[in-house]
Symmetry: C2
Subunit: 360 residues, 2 copies
Amino acid sequence: MERRKFMKSAGLAGILAAGSAPAIVHAQQQIRWRLASSFPKSLDTVYGASEAFAKYVSDATGGKFVISVHPAGELVPAFGVVDAVQQGTIDCAHTAPYYFFGKDESFAFDCTIPFGMTSRAMTAWMLEGNGMKLMREFYAQYNIVNFVCGNTGAQMGGWYRKEIKSVADLNGLKMRIGGFGGRVLAKLGAVSQNIPAGEIYQALERGTIDAAEWIGPYDDLRLGLHKVAKNYYYPAWWEGSTQFSVYINDKQWNGLSAEYKAIIEQASRAAHVTCQARYDARNPGALKQLIAEGAVLSRFPRDFMDAAFKASREVYAELNDTNPNWKKIYPDYSRFLADQVQWEAVAESNYAQYLAAQKL
Amino acid sequence: MERRKFMKSAGLAGILAAGSAPAIVHAQQQIRWRLASSFPKSLDTVYGASEAFAKYVSDATGGKFVISVHPAGELVPAFGVVDAVQQGTIDCAHTAPYYFFGKDESFAFDCTIPFGMTSRAMTAWMLEGNGMKLMREFYAQYNIVNFVCGNTGAQMGGWYRKEIKSVADLNGLKMRIGGFGGRVLAKLGAVSQNIPAGEIYQALERGTIDAAEWIGPYDDLRLGLHKVAKNYYYPAWWEGSTQFSVYINDKQWNGLSAEYKAIIEQASRAAHVTCQARYDARNPGALKQLIAEGAVLSRFPRDFMDAAFKASREVYAELNDTNPNWKKIYPDYSRFLADQVQWEAVAESNYAQYLAAQKL
């Protein structure tokens, strides 16, 4: 723990050097934390969310509370951050919780599940519904205190070497896709693989895989996947929005002053809204560029969406039977989602659809 | 200025009472500000955004920077907050900038314009597009430094005593509606009036007005308008999202330390996301209750939407000719909006529409 530099300074009182009124001198600990990101620096929107979070904390404390941000692999591997925070090897992390789907599918509620919440619904569930409370209870077993820290919005469905004309084309399809979406796709006959960002291009070019999903236009453009698989489908029914989280080791969290706790909480919310704003600001231009460079945009066939929706319900029924953590959270999540979807279909989506049909 | 209590305490150095490491003692000013809201306390979601903002600032500073929040009318009238901040009579305010449409239509860019940005697009334009920069330039002439602080999302189109079957039904219709929407409606023959919240119910009950728009289900339910005009239309094309802002007097702002400036900035972003989350979490239940109590939900007729869209373009063309401030901001706003709408129509809206058609 020598890397952390605590200067014990509680109970200090300052004396006013000049002036007539007594000064209120507040001594705050000097703190240095290390944050392990699950992402490379090159993913500057999502990695940038953790940098924004750290900057906000430093700025709000006049540089007294410093969180150094480390890309995936520098301190621990991308998928090692839960273990590292749990054990206190690192103080905090920034990740996409569904990566830990293999430990417990319930991690995904803090991120995304197939046919799950949109970005705004997710934030509402976390901050004003029962989401944060339920996830804090779940994370307690991992010594983690979680904070919302970014969202991508609805993602694109990825790049396909051949057209997808119906659900039958998924049979035997080898696809790079993360955990939960892959489990649903497996029910449709697809073979899912998780391949790190840096290896996707080559795998797709060589035909080792037939398709790969990544994030959305801005991030996808950086990988250049449109050059090796031009068919670009939407929407990613497995990532209707993807939330990122900051994980803090609970002992570190409990050791903070009320002031520092408030600053962390606000910095996470500020970084959360900043990250979504960046994705929204950056995606439209990237989409235009992808199309200009040959990407062919198509909606997933309806029978594929329907088959995937049905398969996702089967997976959720299985999890309700087998995973008590899942069973505790799922009813609240799905009730909140159903309410959100009903309301969203009234004012918000009618407004958006009308605008989309106009010449702007 | 006696209400502000500055304790000058810069340049202090503390002495460590016990322990081996030198303490870093940071003395921050004790500050008390007054915030004038344009809203009554009863509108607890929007008023709550200013309370959240003030609480965040206090919590992050250990109670050293205290902003007292005052409802409309307590310090200055609801529509007097721009003058009061400009003159320094109050330190800061929380308002819906389009209220000041009469001073200059450009205020509305910081809030909403007919057929304008959705909530996410608006936040993206403000925080990651040119929105904040352009609005700061505009507000400089009013000695105001602005910060985003809440959004309602797409609003409902209000309550009508009689059905609206076509745009012809707008001719001669007396409607309670705010400034900009009213100017567009006037082109369709409607007569707009701005009536304070507390008087809308009676005016609608007595037939002094034929229709009234307010916000959305949660706030509308509180006014009880469904009891006197059951026809509830959507979407409010004049408020595709409505952003609230915090206004700070520029001298007060410039007098803050870098640390306090950072805390204000983050508190505003945190309150911004909290406010939208509250609207999203609260509206669905309120909509169900309104329907259970007799509200009849309908989409505005297409010819009304089209006529209003066309009329809004005419108003914008007029403003480009007559208002140099408008002309400076409008091209950037409309370009950003067009890009957002194109991208939103791909992944986000296809995802939302698919979900809306499922049994969840």
